[in-house]
Symmetry: C2
Subunit: 352 residues, 2 copies
């Protein structure tokens, strides 16, 4: 119960208590092998007895490193929380970072001045490097930080893709795979509800949709493409438009599960059955997807893996600052559920 050390303990005091020099004490605490077993034991004992914790600022100043990295999320806080993407990403990051005893500092700039603050924070070497996610396209921050020589990894596809380290999910392949799945299930008139056009992931998923059709020799039809905005209502609205433009459609690929909820609602209201009349595949494999009515097929992204890969890339960049930028592309997996069951059992008029 002795909380004697209300005053900070310094290395000097530990060294003194252990009867060695500051240098030797430091060696023990940084796991330098060049210390005799006796001295080592003495220092360790003294340190634990005094409750010594190395002062961060002192160490950082001496080593030039801070053992922390920033996760910069460009997204309204409300969206940040509530989106299952982030806990998964953070778990992945944590897997790698905690094993190296590095701290993760979460920064969520909301305004332009916040963004400046982030730049100053990172430039001040508060952290050894930065992870940037959901970066608005053409945002100046990566360039600014890079010009200060700060190690950087971007999650998603940056505007100037080869200037920066980045980890992306293969959205093109994921979307193409979803379309192939629909085609395999006997669908022929496949529409899509896209994401916002300014979001790279949305662009890629649209491209994947188109490639999927082309690969199967199906015609492209612009009237089968309708823009959503990654919201539920946007999805519903887009679906209603599609039903007006192409009533005969028999499948929809939706660029996010949240929009897919709206799509399902719109289909239900229009009296179309899912999957009997229209098959639906979403994207993200949101936890709620499996619980929807009907359970929603969805493209699952390896978010944890993305986090791990981002952390690895960043640590590499911190240790070898001159390495050229690298790019990692991760593959998706299709979770097929009832919403995209094959037309099956009603093959050309077979009697029941």
């Amino acid at each position: 119960m002795k909380d004697l050390h209300v005053t900070k303990v310094t290395l000097q005091e530990v060294a003194q208590a252990a009867g060695v020099s500051r240098a030797t004490a430091s060696r023990v605490l940084t796991s330098d092998p060049r210390v005799s077993p006796g001295a080592r034991r003495a220092v360790e004992r003294a340190a634990s007895k005094l409750g010594y914790v190395p002062n961060h600022a002192g160490r950082a100043l001496a080593t030039g490193r801070s053992d922390a990295v920033a996760l910069v999320v460009f997204e309204p806080t409300t969206l940040l929380f509530g989106d299952p993407f982030f806990p998964r990403l953070i778990r992945g990051l944590g897997d790698v970072l905690t094993s190296r005893d590095m701290q993760l500092v979460l920064l969520a700039p909301q305004t332009a001045s916040d963004s400046d603050r982030v730049e100053r924070y990172v430039a001040a070497r508060h952290v050894d490097g930065a992870l940037l996610v959901s970066l608005p396209s053409a945002h100046p921050l990566p360039g600014r930080l890079a010009s200060r020589g700060i190690p950087l990894v971007i999650g998603g596809r940056p505007t100037e893709a080869d200037r920066f380290n980045h980890v992306d999910v293969d959205n093109v392949a994921g979307a193409a795979r979803a379309v192939a799945h629909l085609i395999a299930g006997g669908r022929r008139t496949i529409a899509t509800v896209t994401g916002r056009e300014d979001v790279p992931a949305g662009q890629d998923r649209l491209r994947g949709y188109q490639e999927g059709l082309t690969a199967a020799g199906l015609p492209a039809d612009d009237a089968l493409i309708e823009a959503g905005d990654f919201t539920r209502d946007g999805g519903a609205r887009a679906m209603r438009f599609l039903l007006v433009k192409r009533p005969q459609l028999d499948a929809v690929f939706v660029a996010s599960d949240l929009m897919a909820v709206g799509v399902l609602e719109a289909l239900h209201q229009a009296g179309r059955r899912v999957p009997e009349d229209v098959a639906v595949v979403g994207y993200d494999d949101d936890p709620m997807a499996a619980g929807l009515q009907p359970p929603l097929s969805s493209v699952r992204q390896p978010i944890e893996e993305m986090g791990r890969e981002m952390a690895r890339l960043l640590l590499d960049a911190v240790h070898s600052p001159d390495r050229p930028p690298r790019k990692v592309l991760l593959t998706t997996r299709l979770e097929a559920r009832f919403s995209s069951a094959p037309v099956a059992s009603k093959p050309t008029g077979e009697a029941v």
Copy 2:
């Protein structure tokens, strides 16, 4: 596009470029008034031309402060995100902290070893103080940190309430108010679904429920009290028990909105109409509450205000470390919706 300063700029270089000493340059950058206008301008110009940003470690070492505080959240990451409590809290904290140019570092220890890591992190003076929320009761961390002289503010009611600064919501009054509202609506047999017993907030809400009954002269009845566990399913289960034990109940006060969802389901399955047969009031005023069927009455907590107050308290503690612990109690507001409409318009057998 000269990114000349890939190498860090130091104060020394700024001073040199401005033709003054390091001391004077430092004064300019710390807004010390004792600098001539000329020197000030020269330094400012040099600093911005060189893209100077003060090195954090250097400054922290010299001042003994880091201009950052930690928010320590003891909750599984998955719960952290997804719970609307946190974005609201963080917004409140941000209001106060950014105005003082302080950074918020989010730490979410999941395991005991994480918790140790947090202790080391904070003890290393990485941050000037710590904000602790959803702290398990009797957790050793606050005591440990306090004994190291680290400024602390706890959100919620800590086990040893007067040892620590804390900001709490008046859960007792909030719950009592909800019960009073039910009574005013003509209800007489009021049950409650409580939270987990080891959570102070849950205990307080139960106490408020009891006080509410007592204040109105209604009898206490233990069979009207059933423990939930803050989950939806737990709420449903508790409600089913209550219906068995006291079929004649005409109102339920539920200690969280999430549990209230389960309660509504259970009531629906049992064929009880809400609010005609049973009135329901929840707690937290979750954003979804207004969207439920029927819209759920709920006790709204001033979370943003709690964040602001916590930040203020912590900043005070950082600046005056010897001030005795303070306690702030915030009041709730009842959002009355249809789920607790008065029995009204069916007075004793009036014909339809």
